[in-house]
């Protein structure tokens, strides 16, 4: 079974061991195309629409969606990226560090903001993102697009656009990349920055 080193960024280090591929590159491309069409349909075009990808998994996906939207409607939408570390509700309970600098170079006030993330799991990342967005303006509406909804919600949050609904076990890890989606488990390397096994398991689920 293929075993790949996940980005060893502390505190999320560890080794991801893939068990099954659930989407291949073509599946992923079709899902992005479909979601893009759904965004255009739901919003009757792209007036006032902006994308905000969540660090780290949602950022490449938001760029792909933006390119797809440009291909469909022939116009660019603003794309930002948000790191939700400072808005998480588990600061002090587990290691929390931002993975990248937030970059929202436009005022969100009056816009329809589509939050983009790779995996929807407990909903806590999205809650943090909703709080973070308010620091960049007051959007007219916020919608949520995710590639995989893996269940296990702990908050009353649902996605508006879903690439694939995927029932999973709590301990499984869903890994979304440009070339496909795998389900597997994370093996915490001895002495890795992740600390207690399972302590970092329930963040978005992408890692």
């Amino acid at each position: 079974m293929a075993e790949r080193e996940r980005a060893a960024t502390p505190p999320y280090g560890g080794v991801f061991s893939a068990r099954a591929q659930v989407m291949d590159a073509a599946d992923l491309r079709r899902a992005v195309t479909r979601i893009a069409h759904e965004i255009v349909e739901r919003n009757h075009g792209l007036d006032d629409v902006a994308l905000v990808g969540l660090q780290t998994g949602g950022v490449p996906l938001s760029r792909r969606l933006a390119a797809e939207l440009a291909a469909i409607e022939g116009r660019e939408v603003p794309v930002g990226s948000l790191d939700v570390a400072f808005y998480r509700d588990d600061i002090g309970l587990r290691p929390v560090m931002p993975q990248a600098v937030t970059d929202v170079p436009f005022d969100l006030s009056g816009r329809v903001v589509v939050l983009v993330d790779d995996v929807l799991f407990t909903g806590r990342t999205v809650r943090a993102a909703l709080e973070g967005l308010t620091h960049h303006g007051r959007p007219k509406a916020v919608q949520l697009a995710v590639m995989v909804d893996r269940g296990h919600r702990e908050l009353p949050i649902r996605a508006d656009y879903v690439g694939k609904n995927l029932p999973t076990g709590c301990e499984e890890v869903v890994d979304v990349r440009d070339d496909g989606v795998d389900v597997g488990v994370k093996l915490v390397a001895p002495g890795a920055g992740g600390g207690k096994p399972g302590a970092t398991g329930r963040t978005g689920g992408g890692r």
């Binding site: 505190p11 790191d83 400072f86 808005y87 600061i91 600098v101 970059d103 302590a199």
Partner: protein, 307 residues
């Protein structure tokens, strides 16, 4: 940052300094927003315990704590029971008993913050102790240089002025050399420490010869009382030999940077016109100070699980 306190810059090491720099990038972004505040340390309390006068460092820590949504309390000696005879230990324990998550300590005696850290269970940040260390100043100076240059590695930095009495010089020599810069100290012999054994630096008394060769000139504040201690004949004589006058500023390379930890004595260690040149990073140092201290407080209070 593995230690639970920030007492000296050497404890961080190069990796620790890099970690603070990377996190500071995020807080610089926060500071540039219309509402420069995040809820990361909601419900935490940061107390500043200052046994020495300070405006910018105290305000900078306070702004940092508030931008992280922590509550702040201030303890300054002039309004406290210290002049009723309360010891440092009793004061620290009293404040801790009120429920404090971090203490920011400035004290005229070297080692006082480390003492406090040994008495209390919460993290302690050294905000300057005697002639010893001022680690957050060194961090903000590294960050300021790094925001103007790709990296500190290989840069030549001159630190000019009262090295002997300067905690800023001590922390910055350690930080700059850890990051790979080459440091030259420039000062009259009376303002150099009695021994420089173990300092990874070069020493010069000829500022004119050093200036054309450096990427950064870092000026230290000259305190008027040094003259009373007969270490300096006069401030005018100091300026003639070691001040960054307009004439000397022309000796600098075109892309050289000028820094000063503040407060500046314009006309003594730095000419008023030089302080306002585009190559002067003084106001950027102050702005970065808040973001760097946000990073330090977040690393100590937020990045690791409690207890």
């Amino acid at each position: 940052m593995t230690a639970s306190s920030l007492l000296s810059i050497g404890d961080l090491g190069a990796d620790g300094i890099d970690e603070v720099m990377t996190l500071t990038d995020s807080f610089v972004e926060v500071s540039q927003r219309a509402m420069p505040k995040v809820p990361a340390l909601r419900g935490r309390t940061v107390v500043s315990l200052f046994y020495e006068d300070s405006t910018r460092t105290r305000l900078s820590f306070e702004a940092a704590a508030r931008r992280l949504s922590a509550d702040t309390m201030n303890f300054s000696v002039s309004t406290s029971s210290v002049h009723k005879g309360e010891s440092l230990r009793d004061t620290a324990l009293t404040i801790e008993a009120m429920g404090v998550d971090a203490l920011v300590v400035r004290h005229p005696s070297a080692g006082a913050p480390a003492q406090v850290a040994s008495w209390v269970s919460c993290p302690v940040v050294n905000a300057g102790d005697g002639w010893h260390e001022h680690p957050t100043q060194a961090l903000l100076d590294c960050y300021t240089i790094r925001s103007a240059r790709p990296s500190l590695a290989g840069l030549r930095i001159a630190i000019v002025g009262d090295i002997k009495h300067s905690r800023v010089a001590r922390s910055n020599v350690t930080a700059f050399t850890l990051m790979g810069a080459e440091v030259t100290l420039v000062a009259p012999p009376t303002l150099l420490p009695p021994s420089l054994a173990g300092w990874p630096v070069e020493v010069s008394t000829d500022l004119d010869a050093v200036l054309p060769k450096v990427d950064v000139v870092y000026l230290l504040r000259i305190q008027a009382e040094r003259q009373a201690e007969a270490l300096l004949p006069s401030l005018r004589e100091y300026t003639a030999g070691y001040g960054l006058t307009e004439r000397r500023a022309e000796l600098l390379a075109d892309d050289a940077l000028v820094m000063h930890p503040g407060p500046m004595n314009r006309g003594v260690e730095i000419a008023a016109a030089v302080a306002d040149l585009p190559c002067s990073l003084v106001t950027r140092q102050v702005a970065n100070g808040v973001a760097v201290r946000m990073a330090v407080l977040f690393l100590l209070l937020g990045a690791e699980p409690r207890g």
